[in-house]
Every structure is written in C-alpha cells, then in structure tokens.
Amino acid sequence: MSAPPEVFFPSINTDWHGHAAKRFAGPFVGVPFDRVDVDPIILPHAAIINGYTLKEFYMRPKLGLASVCWTNELYDLLPVTHWFYSNVWLRELGCKLEFKETLPPVVTGDRPIKNPEDADKLHIPDVSEIEKGPTFSGFVEGYDFVKQYFPNWFVPIHFTFCLTAMAAELTGVDKFMLWTLKQPKICHKLMETVMETSTNGAIALAKRYGFAMMVIGGVLANSDLLQPAKVKEFGMDYHIKHVKKAFKGGAGPQLWYHLCGNHSRDYMIWKDEFFSPFTVMHIGYMGKESFPVSEAKKVYGNMATIMSSVDTKLMYRGTPKEVYDVSKQMILEGKDSPRGFVHGCACEVPAYTPPGNIYAMVKAAREWGKY
C-alpha cells in the first residue's frame, strides 16, 4: 500500500524489501544472506535529504518514518524504522521538551528536581498513565502509520536511551554528576524513577503491538564522564532491572545495546548486561577512535551480533574514499563474527552527512562483505 497523500513518497519496492529483510535476518538466524548489512542509524538525515527539516522529522512522526523507509531503500540499507530521540518519557516526569532546528528534542526550562527533597515528590506514571501521555501518542502515531502503510517494515522500537542521562535531565547534568558523590541515594531514586517509567513505556508499547524491540543506550554512562564503577552503579545495574521488568511485561525479544561515546575503560563491564537471543552489541569509541571491530568481536562476538562504528566525524567531514577504506577494513574484520555482524556508524549518522559517504559504506559492504 502506498503512503497516504500527506507523506509524499512513492511506495517501497517490495522486491527490494523482501531481499533486504532476508539480509537483515541473516545474522540472527545464523545464515548469512548475500552480504554484510549496513545500518548507519538514519534519523533526521532521512528527512533532510528529502527536502524536509530536522525539526519536522521529530514533530511529524509519520513523515519521519516514511522518510526513513524511503531513504533506506534509496541507500540499500538494513530495513528498520528508526525513529526515536533521547529524552523519551521525560515529559511524563515534569520536563519540558523543545523541538529545535538543530537538535533532537531537548529538555529546556526549569527541571523538576531542584533540590534533593524534590526527589520524593516524583510520581512514576503507570502503564495506563503512560498510554495517555504525549510521548506514547507520538510513538503510536508513527508505528500505527508504519503498521498500516509499511506492514513489512513493522518493528515497534522502545528506545530507552540512556537511563543515566534521563535521570540527569531531571535535575541538570552537572548537578546529577555531583550528586553521584554527594547525594548518591537521591541519584538512585532518580535512576529508579526513570527506570520504572521507561519500563512502563516499553510495556505500554508491547501491550499495543505484541512486542517491542528495546534499544538501550549507555551515553552519559561512559568513560569520558564516569569511572567504570559508577558506570555500573548508575548505568548497567539499572539496565538489567529495566530489561527484566520490560521483558516480563512483554517487551523484547530484540535488544540493542548502543554504547555511545568513549567506552575505553568500561567496555568489559557491559558483558554482565542481560542478554536475549536477539541481542546486538554496539560500542561507539575507544578513546577518540572508533571502537575496534576486532575487540568487539573478541569480547562480544560469541554473545551477540556486533555492530561496527564508523566515526561520525568521518561521515560528516570525510570523503567517500575515506569512508569506503575504513568500511572495508571494518567489514573484513567483522563479517565472520560468530553471532553475526552489521556495519554501522558510531552513533546516529549526522543529519547533514554527504549522501556519497553513506553510499561508500554500502559499496564497501557489497564489495568486501559478500557471504
């Protein structure tokens, strides 16, 4: 079925999609298809190359998702409907979100937690409250649309983002960071609150759609900002509770751990995460450099499908030749990873990435990632 007239894209080529879907399934079913799949994590880039804006991508979920589908066909990428932003469920906890032309939705204005005593006043919305809230309605608008017009693509995704970063947004990042030392109990209370809220969000999505892939980030919890013990205490330990509770409520079975930023000092601790049979492990950087595929394969290759991380700076500022060369090397290192491999970027591909650089990733996969 074609998309409705308010979203101006032609219908997706079903032959292409059928082929792409088999390639997508390859790493997870232990039968690699024709070649390594590519997922540069296309978000607003999809809207921008089609003449829309970053702000429209987030404010108009249908447009955002339709442009992602169309762009994934255009580049011949992994057919998944990424549409998410980092500050999910925070409006339900009293934060105000602003949609800007330059950024994904950001928290602005006064934070609900100004002093430690405020933490006791936080109310965790239950599933029914979540279902009536603004975050859920945005996801439902998008996913109902995909289900109706792009049924083959339909994978509802609960994007947990980084629970640590979400908790920090409740009070402001600097204050939260300081409180990890001065008011750790309050930080745990905030972590518990965002973990429970996010869990209810995942359960609400699973309740509506029967399942919900979970994307969980370690973003603020990284080696540039927190010592590994704190990354565990204020990051991973909550992921485990979150995943278990969300799974009990019907979310999953797919899990994608996206460790954003530098994880040079903490990447080993994430081995203790909760794993489902469909887990992807994706680590952004080792210091300032892309996380080495060989190391990801060595540590996580037997536990999960691994994903490579082309430096987003290179995607934005590099040339197609540079992206192609880096991609070739990563693909050769990762393609035989025991539980599968996907070629990707260290984080969401920058919105204004030259299209030729994304094509360079795909070209490298076509030429060096054949099975």
């Binding site: 970053l54 800007k100 032309e101 330059t102 950024l103 950001v106 602005t108 990042v173 600097d174 960071m177 300081l178 990890t180 030392l181 001065k182 080696s223 540039d224 900002l225 927190l226 010592q227 704190k230 930023g261 000092r265 300032k288 987003t312 700076k313 934005y316 500022r317 920058p350 919105a351 204004y352 990435t353």
Partner: protein, 214 residues
C-alpha cells in the same frame, strides 16, 4: 600554619573536593597576610592542575572534577574580593559558551572550570548562545579569547559564524577563537578561520594560555 602549609592545604583540599577546608584555609590565608592572588594560584590552581592530570589518566572523572571545582570556588569566593585591582585587571579575559543551536554543556563547563583555575577571567555565556551575543561580548569586554564548543555536527557551521561576526565587528585581529567539542577537529578549526582547537579540557588550558600570550 605557615604560608607553605596553607598553600599546600588549599591544593590538597581542592583535589579532595573538601569545600569546608578550602574555605577555612582561604580565611587563614587572608588572616596571615598571604596575597589573595597567590592563594588562588599557589593553592587552588595547583590543586586543579593535579585534578586535570588525574582526569587525563583516568584517576578522576567529571563528578570528582565538579567536587574539586566546588571546593575551589568556596575558596575563590572568599579570596576574590581581596584581589588587588592591578592583579584583576591583568587577568586575560575569555568569553566562553556553547554555540548557538546546541545545549550540550558538560565539556564547556569543564573548560570554564579549568581556565578559571588557571587564572583567566571567565565570562560564561552558557549554552545555545546566539552568535551575535558571543561576538559582542568578546568585543565589549576586550576579551583575548573566545572559547566555543559544540557536540553536534548540525551546529558546527555556527562556529564559523562567530568568527565571521568577530570580523564584522572589526575585532578578529584582537580576539583569538578557540573551538572544541566531539565533532570538531584541528582541521575543522583551520577551515573556519578559528585560531586553535583543543581536544579536551586539559588541552584547553595550554592552548588558551598560548593564545592569550601567557
């Protein structure tokens, strides 16, 4: 306590993030006649140098730096009113902010703390700072350095707009532009006409000192 003990005590308490002790020692410094500037530079700033090194080697992280900064500011708040006028006037001025369109300010805040500790007079304009405001503040304050950061590729072009605005105001030859943030690079700094790039907060100290001719 003698002078050396007070200065060492200030440095150690800064590293330990002990604001109660730094405040006590700042008062002790004034009582015993130590110059306020010397107490800041010989005590707190020395402590922050240790903090900066420990951050680089992974012995300290952002929470620990913020705690140390809190201790440092507890002393500086007491010492600042006693700074001799000529000392204050001699401080190199830095206007700092997150560029227009971006709100990620962890890195900017770390640089502000480190430069503050290194004796710069800081004008922190916060985050999502309009290009014109950043340039205008540098011009009106007669700043030697404008330090701009961003975490987003979408807002990198606004860094160039700051450079262009400084040129339009006719002050670019007097103000050096220092940029930083995850998506930036030395090459990018050159391409937009910025004077320098710093890879992190620790590097920013050395680069800013060089730019300010210290």
């Amino acid at each position: 306590m003698d002078r050396a003990e007070i200065l060492k005590g200030l440095a150690d308490a800064t590293v330990a993030g002990d604001a109660e002790t730094t405040a006590k020692l700042a008062n002790e410094a004034l009582r015993t006649g130590i110059d306020a500037y010397d107490a800041i530079m010989g005590g707190c700033a020395e402590g922050m140098k240790v903090v900066s090194n420990k951050y680089e080697t992974g012995e300290m992280y952002v929470p620990e730096i913020l705690l140390s900064a809190e201790a440092m500011y507890a002393a500086i708040d007491i010492l600042k009113p006693h700074l001799k006028v000529e000392r204050a006037a001699a401080q190199a001025k830095v206007v700092i902010g997150v560029v227009e369109g971006d709100i990620h300010d962890i890195g900017k805040n770390l640089v502000r703390i480190m430069l503050d500790a290194s004796g710069f007079k800081m004008f922190d304009l916060g985050r999502d700072v309009p290009v014109k405001d950043m340039a205008a503040k540098a011009a009106t304050e007669g700043a030697q350095v404008v330090a701009i950061s961003t975490l987003m590729t979408t807002t990198m072009p606004n860094m160039k707009r700051v450079v262009d605005e400084l040129k339009a105001l006719g002050v670019k030859d007097k103000v050096k532009v220092l940029i930083g943030g995850a998506p930036t690079s030395e090459e990018f700094a050159k391409s937009i006409g910025a004077d320098a790039w710093a890879k992190d907060a620790t590097a920013a100290i050395k680069v800013a000192e060089k730019l300010a001719g210290r």
